[in-house]
Amino acid sequence: MASSTADSPAGLSLEPQSRRVGEKAIVAWLFLAALAAVLITIAIVVALLEPAAEFFRFVSVTEFFSTARWTPTQADPEFGVLRLLAGTGAAVLYSCIIALPAGLGAAIYMNEYASFRVRQVLKPLLEILEGIPTVVYGFFAVAFVAPLMKDNWWTWLPGQLGEEPGTQFILAAGVVLGIMIIPTVASVSQDAMAAIPRGLREAAYGLGSTRMQVATRVVVPGALSGIVASFVLGLSRAIGETIVVLLAAGAMANLSILPNDPVFTMTAFIGRTSTGEIAYGTTTYYSIFAVGALLFVVTLVVNLISIALVRKFREVYE
């Protein structure tokens, strides 16, 4: 402004010294990148919801959730999605029984007990495990885990539990899914534990806590949001995983959580059915999208529940 520059001593100017074109360009580029991520997500949801809505013109929502059978490829198809939902639930249940305690235990061990050197080796190793393609795990399930379990089945178990399974069954898929997500749970949990301020840890040790007490009373409660995040991340991976359940759990839409029964999961159905054997525009074709949308909703609900849990239980340190 002319008036202020007139009063100021010669040569002093507080106005911008350059137009900073480069910075503006970079900011614009960063904004576009952020915008693209949001737009792509919206586009995916729309692409999913449109054909899913088409499906619900043929099959009502009530019918979708109340029909007892899932036979989309038969002459008179029935779409009872609960069968698939239960299949996913069963496989994920077993994977969680394996992965949550093992992952959390590994994280506590690495953070509280392992020496610096051991941690330096274990952590990168876990991160490498996270990067193994899931088809490798699928193959591992079919070629190794399933036959091993089948041949050594606990036949002394009472009733149906004691029956030797076929080549594809829930437990094989669940165990391998569990092994697959252990690194995710362990690694993310340990990051959260490592962020606990040193002062809290020292306070706990200073009061005569054992390592286990420091872990269970200070570190785990303080890192709870990160630990729950690791569970949700693992759970989401298990729910969304396709190839392992397709290979190991089978394609029989059973309503069962027995470990030796085969099941058909939502992802396995999508993977199997969308590989070309289905005619475009049929109800069965649209059912793929309906199941996909349901999968999306399930993951969303899991996330919402976890946010609510974290709000209720975590201890916020400063």
Partner: protein
């Protein structure tokens, strides 16, 4: 000789020493005696040959410039240095005649008897009540009435009146000074023998500092207190004895290391120090 594998008596003896007592240069009834204490962090020789004794129901201040090893010495007294992977301790620290670095000594048992208050107030992100009850709970203390214990610890830390109506609230909501007094309450709730304080007022304002200092004078009746402080006036105000540490150059290698320069009654240290380096430091001529 107390047995470190057994819990000590929860009732501290009230052997009251007043400042008017003619005190010997060295404590007559020492709780701790260090002998040729040396501490290394990896290759770094942090503290060299410290011989000190800390008297029962006295307040001993450790003063000196940054890097002189006073905090390191303090953290040897409850084996807090064990938490640093590269730390190594040589020499002995005897606690009521028992070497706390002895082979069969469990550092957890040591820390249950020797409480600590840290530089930055570090309450757990739990309720005020749970903070105070933490120590008794983890140590498995036989407590008849936890509410009474929490109240007496908070009263002992001069905090009860301010928090008695909000015991279930999160401790993070307290002011810095209140948080530090909570940490003191938490430390005395386990009925320790000694309370170590590592610059307990350095993060506090002058009014909160005054409160903590008044509290220390109270606690002195029941506990042995050892305090590291950067504030020389504070050492002069609260302590019975003062140990002055300084940074020295090792004669063989020229490496820097912390060492004890002079240890005496606080009045002696501040009025007529024997060592030139002490005099320079307390009169602000240190350079």
């Amino acid at each position: 000789m107390p047995d470190l594998t057994e819990r000590h008596s929860p009732v501290p003896e009230t052997h009251h020493t007043t400042r008017d007592d003619a005190m010997a240069a060295l404590p007559r009834d020492p709780v701790f005696v260090t002998d040729k204490l040396n501490v290394y962090y990896g290759d770094f020789h942090a503290v060299t040959d410290v011989d000190l004794s800390f008297g029962k129901n006295e307040i001993t201040a450790l003063i000196g410039p940054s890097g002189c090893g006073k905090s390191t010495v303090l953290r040897c007294l409850n084996r807090m240095n064990d938490l640093i992977p590269t730390a190594r301790v040589a020499g002995t620290v005897s606690y009521h005649g028992l070497d706390i670095y002895g082979e069969r000594v469990d550092p957890i048992e040591v820390r249950r008897r020797i409480g600590m208050v840290f530089q930055k107030p570090n309450p757990f992100p739990k309720s005020i009540y749970d903070n105070v009850a933490y120590g008794p709970r983890v140590t498995g203390m036989k407590v008849e009435n936890m509410d009474d214990l929490v109240e007496s610890a908070l009263t002992g830390a001069a905090l009860w009146d301010e928090v008695k109506d909000k015991l279930k609230q999160n401790a993070n909501g307290l002011s810095g000074g209140q948080q530090q007094r909570l940490c003191i309450a938490r430390a005395i709730a386990t009925m320790p023998d000694v309370v170590l304080m590592d610059e307990p007022c350095s993060a506090l304002d002058p009014i909160a500092t005054l409160k903590i200092e008044e509290l220390m004078a109270e606690l002195r009746n029941n506990y042995t207190i050892i305090i590291v402080t950067h504030n020389m006036q504070q050492a002069a105000r609260v302590s019975d004895r003062t140990a002055f540490f300084s940074v020295q150059q090792k004669s063989e290698t020229g490496d820097r290391t912390g060492a004890l320069v002079e240890y005496d009654l606080t009045t002696k240290i501040f009025e007529s120090p024997a060592d030139r380096r002490t005099e320079d430091y307390i009169s602000g001529r240190f350079g």
